[in-house]
């Protein structure tokens, strides 16, 4: 099955712009299902982005981040063709990771 992560990292000059989209329900814990029961919270807590063995960006998310969350940031020092690693973990201990080439 395909990864839960979509990553786009593009170098322009000395800056790499990174956009990521993660497939995740991000259930807040405040929404009821059709039977009227609260859907328990199920959301990503931490997303780490690493380049050359070093963290370049860390996201800490609460239940108010939208379903299928999206984030964009940029950092300096990467070259085209370098690896960028993304990994996430949620409040149920589920996780996923992806390594993508910077374009």
């Amino acid at each position: 099955m395909a990864s839960t992560i979509r990553l786009r990292a593009i170098v322009s000059g000395d800056t790499t712009e990174v956009q990521a989209l993660v497939q995740h329900p991000m259930d807040s814990g405040f929404v009821k299902d059709s039977a009227g029961n609260l859907i328990p919270p199920h959301h990503i807590e931490v997303v780490e982005f690493e380049h050359a063995g070093k963290a370049v960006f860390t996201a800490l998310w609460g239940p108010a981040v939208s379903k299928d969350p999206y984030v964009k940031f940029s950092f300096k020092g990467a070259q085209k063709g370098d690896d960028l690693t993304v990994s996430w973990v949620d409040n149920k201990g589920e996780s996923d990771s992806l390594v993508a080439k910077i374009q």
């Binding site: 960006f57 800490l60 609460g62 239940p63 939208s66 969350p69 950092f75 020092g77 973990v89």
Partner: protein, 160 residues
């Protein structure tokens, strides 16, 4: 639709960790899914019920309003479930950015760690339960700067 994580649950992951530790990390050639470090999450800050308490839990100090913090959010959210919000700052040495939605049950929505070399900018999409003040906090040189904006929500992001 069933989601396909194919990941071990937390308990199993802890067991895997314990086994690895017990073997003295002799299994370096093993391929295993990387997971982000769950211990980084700030449970205390994310479970505060007011904006002020969340800021205190996050930084232990108050924020001062600054025009050096740029918060981009819509006037009227097209849908409270998906509100695009971005924060940027030209301040030097930004070390973190946080975004709070004052009227949400837990105001702290997201916080980002910005190491040296990474720009003081982030864009994301947040849920808003109702019309609320959105607050952006930027940590720079050990001080906390803020900007805020009212975003109108007529279809809340907490509905079914």
């Amino acid at each position: 639709m069933a989601k396909q994580h194919n990941r071990p649950d937390r308990t199993r992951r802890l067991i895997v960790k314990a086994i690895l530790a017990g073997v003295g990390l002799g299994l370096t050639g093993w391929k295993r899914a990387r997971a982000a470090d769950a211990s980084l999450w700030l449970k205390d800050a994310f479970t505060q019920k007011t904006e002020a308490d969340a800021i205190k839990a996050l930084y232990g100090k108050d924020a001062e309003a600054s025009d050096q913090v740029k918060l981009d959010a819509p006037e009227i959210a097209e849908n409270g479930a998906v509100v695009p919000i971005s924060v940027s700052s030209a301040l030097p040495d930004v070390t973190s950015i946080a975004i709070l939605v004052s009227e949400n049950p837990f105001p702290l929505a997201a916080t980002y760690k910005i190491p040296p070399g990474t720009s003081g900018m982030v864009a994301n999409r947040l849920k808003m339960a109702k019309t609320s003040k959105v607050v952006a906090l930027v940590e720079s040189g050990g001080k906390i700067y803020s900007a805020s904006k009212e975003v109108k929500v007529t279809v809340g992001g907490c509905g079914g």
